[in-house]
């Protein structure tokens, strides 16, 4: 017995048993529900799912709908801006914090605090701050600048940027914390070596430290990207998609169509498009990042 190798499927038997619930969840909830969603997006389902196939009708209507197209455009704006700015601001804040400053803990807490709030709270707070009747605009006007205009929220063209600002306020702290953790893993010797060679600090950051922090950047990117695609609550709290349809986002379209307008088919078609978009971006990246030959490299 002791010398006999166990039968292959039984190797690590306990670990496999332990993984069964997770595997089942993945298969049933993620894969199963995704397939269900895709199948029913080709039907004429209203409040209740029915298997009455109508081809691409739902998709045709989807891309004819102004609201959906506005929502896609908004997601793109929000996505690009919050990705770029939260990474840049987050990294700069982390680099500043890493200068062995005093009260670092206090600052870190302050910057991280917004992340502890729910998006609903953030949204309401920023709605109040930006509302023209009692927010920044009113305060500045009361100071004597009568013609001061700061109406991000009520001007259809800029509303999405107001949401970007609120999103950044909420999310940058977390990015900073992750980056700071990454910076702390960098060996002090590297800094010393760079200093001996007379390389300026910013160059050290850009050409040495950032490439070394690649795994941290990847993790952060995934976290931010996931948050971007599912943006919903912030918009609901801040503008509810308004003024008009100026700040609609895809997730809100899906929810409204599925639950308050009783058009399941249309909602599922929209969520299928969301999923497809994510896959188009994610699959090539995942293939590159996780291909087996990369095992020896820094990123896991």
């Amino acid at each position: 017995m002791p010398n006999k190798r166990p039968f292959a499927p039984l190797r690590n038997f306990n670990a496999k048993v332990a993984a069964v619930p997770m595997i089942a969840t993945v298969l049933v909830v993620f894969v199963g529900c995704t397939l269900w969603t895709v199948v029913y997006s080709f039907t004429s389902s209203r409040s209740l799912p029915v298997l009455d196939f109508v081809g691409f009708d739902q998709y045709e209507r989807l891309f004819r709908t102004t609201r959906w197209n506005v929502a896609l455009k908004n997601l793109a704006i929000y996505g690009v801006l919050s990705l770029v700015f939260s990474l840049v601001i987050g990294f700069i804040l982390a680099a500043l914090m890493d200068q062995k400053i005093r009260f670092e803990n206090t600052f870190r807490t302050i910057f991280l605090y917004p992340h502890a709030l729910s998006f609903i709270v953030t949204g309401l707070a920023w709605q109040w701050i930006l509302a023209p009747t009692f927010g920044i605009q009113k305060v500045v006007r009361d100071l004597g600048f009568e013609t001061f205009e700061f109406s991000l929220l009520t001007n259809s063209r800029y509303t999405i940027y107001a949401i970007v600002i609120a999103g950044l306020w909420q999310g940058t702290g977390l990015v900073m914390a992750l980056m700071l953790a990454g910076l702390r893993t960098v060996d002090d010797e590297i800094w010393k070596a760079a200093r001996v060679d007379g390389i300026p600090a910013w160059k050290t950051y850009v050409f040495i430290i950032i490439p070394m922090m690649r795994p941290v950047f990847v993790t952060t990117l995934v976290i931010i990207a996931a948050a971007i695609v599912k943006i919903y609550d912030l918009v609901v709290a801040m503008t509810n998609g308004g003024p008009g349809i100026a700040s609609e986002v895809p997730a809100k379209y899906v929810y409204d169509l599925m639950f308050s307008r009783g058009n399941l088919g249309q909602g599922l078609a929209a969520s299928t498009i969301m999923l497809t978009t994510v896959l188009i971006i994610l699959v090539p990246w995942a293939l590159m990042e996780f291909r087996p030959t990369n095992r020896k490299g820094g990123a896991k």
């Binding site: 969603t37 209507r61 009520t154 349809i245």
Partner: protein
């Protein structure tokens, strides 16, 4: 992707809940009557039900407007965790649920008590029918076609209080000079409400019926419809920029406190004036049909009773249904809510001046319009709402563009 997990959670919780609910006498009633006046009206119902003895009304108020509450209610019924009874709007809200056989059939009770004899206008009961059977109890009549004004605001600005829509548009510059908002409005559905009121009041009955009942695309492309959209374009100039995200009762209170001149809102706004102790005719005024065509639609609230396996629950449901249409409940409930009763055989002499106006208008069946909720599926209503709010917010969107989009929606409507 989060929707999938959402579904799973919903499913899991519904399984847990339905296994746990056994107490028959506690009837959970969900509704979205949460503003001051509305909550008072819901309390009237709860108290009268508890007084009947035995069963208890468990209040399941859901904060927010119907837009928030409806999906919660519907998904609970679909998810197998039905409440004892629920408020919904009269119309096609629950159409799919009834078709799927998820609602208790009330036909027997209705025949026994003779609902068809006293429910007026009869369209209300028709909205509850599916294949000849009755699935809901209308409890009140609400109409959208009202404008609420604060006369003293107009007098302060040196103009006569408006008698119709045109007067308001004309008075608007004077009001703006005084720093008063000519027309207070709020969330998307309130903006959409202005549009539906203009459709009836500016377009007239014929146009309204052609669009709502016949889904006539030609009428939607015609000059009358254009006039409606032009009036709607005027309306967007009357609102203040702060309307985004405002609750309807906040907008009403702007009128109430003299910060705004007028509000286009259904007659439920009246309960806010009532709760604030204002007197109709002096402190505030009401213009049915915007003072142009005094016609009202007959939307309103209805109670639905999701089917239950437990006979005790079904019994309690029928008891509630019977109470809701009874004379006493109709009087006390509607006085509190500021809505009109569904019975033609009761005397509301305690009703205020505005309610009397409404009762008078509805007495003539020629003045009765079908509500959006009865005419359009919630999907079509949603498309119209998207269009009207987009148009209202985007001052660069032309009347012609909006009309072309409107025609498209009406052509596709079912």
């Amino acid at each position: 992707m989060r929707f999938h997990t959402g579904f799973a959670a919903l499913f899991a919780s519904s399984v847990l809940f339905s296994a746990g609910s056994a107490g028959a006498v506690d009837l959970e009633v969900t509704h979205w009557w949460t503003s001051g006046g509305e909550a008072a009206a819901a309390k009237v119902l709860a108290e009268s039900y508890d007084k009947l003895g035995g069963d208890k009304w468990v209040d399941g108020a859901i904060a927010g407007s119907g837009t928030t509450a409806r999906p919660i209610i519907v998904s609970r019924i679909l998810g197998g965790n039905p409440m004892g009874a629920t408020q919904l709007n009269t119309g096609r809200d629950a159409e799919d649920l009834v078709k799927a056989g998820l609602m208790t059939d009330l036909s027997e009770l209705a025949a026994k008590e003779g609902w068809a004899d006293f429910i007026r206008p009869s369209k209300l009961l028709d909205a509850c029918k599916y294949e000849g059977k009755i699935y809901c109890v209308p409890v009140n009549i609400h109409s959208w076609q009202w404008m609420w004004t604060n006369p003293s605001v107009f007098k302060d600005a040196g103009v006569n209080p408006p008698a119709n829509w045109k007067d308001l548009v004309a008075a608007a510059p004077k009001l703006k000079e005084k720093g008063v908002i000519p027309l207070a409005t709020g969330d998307a559905w309130q903006v959409d409400g202005i549009f539906r009121v203009l459709l009836a009041a500016i377009g007239g009955k014929e146009l309204y019926l052609k669009i709502a009942e016949k889904k006539d695309a030609e009428a939607a492309a015609g000059p009358e419809m254009k006039a409606v959209l032009q009036a709607f374009a005027e309306a967007r100039e009357l609102a203040d920029p702060g309307y985004v995200g405002r609750q309807w009762n906040e907008a009403t209170s702007l009128v109430l406190t003299g910060k705004a001149g007028a509000q286009v809102m259904g007659d439920w706004a009246q309960s806010e004036f009532g709760t604030a102790g204002k007197v109709a005719g002096t402190d505030y005024d009401c213009l049915p049909g915007l003072g142009v065509y005094p016609m009202l639609d007959t939307g309103g609230d209805a109670f639905y009773f999701p089917k239950s396996d437990n006979p005790e629950v079904t019994k309690a449901q029928l008891k509630l249904a019977s109470m809701l249409v009874s004379k006493e409940t109709q009087v006390s409930f509607n006085l509190a809510k500021g809505s009109l009763p569904i019975r033609g055989d009761i005397d509301l002499n305690t009703a205020n001046a505005c309610m009397q106006k409404g009762i008078k208008i509805l007495a003539d069946s020629n003045n009765v319009l079908p509500a959006y909720e009865q005419a359009f599926s919630s999907d079509t209503q949603g498309q119209i709402e998207d269009l009207s709010t987009e148009f209202f917010a985007d001052k660069n969107m032309s009347v012609d563009d909006a009309q072309a989009r409107f025609v498209e929606i009406i052509t596709e409507a079912q």
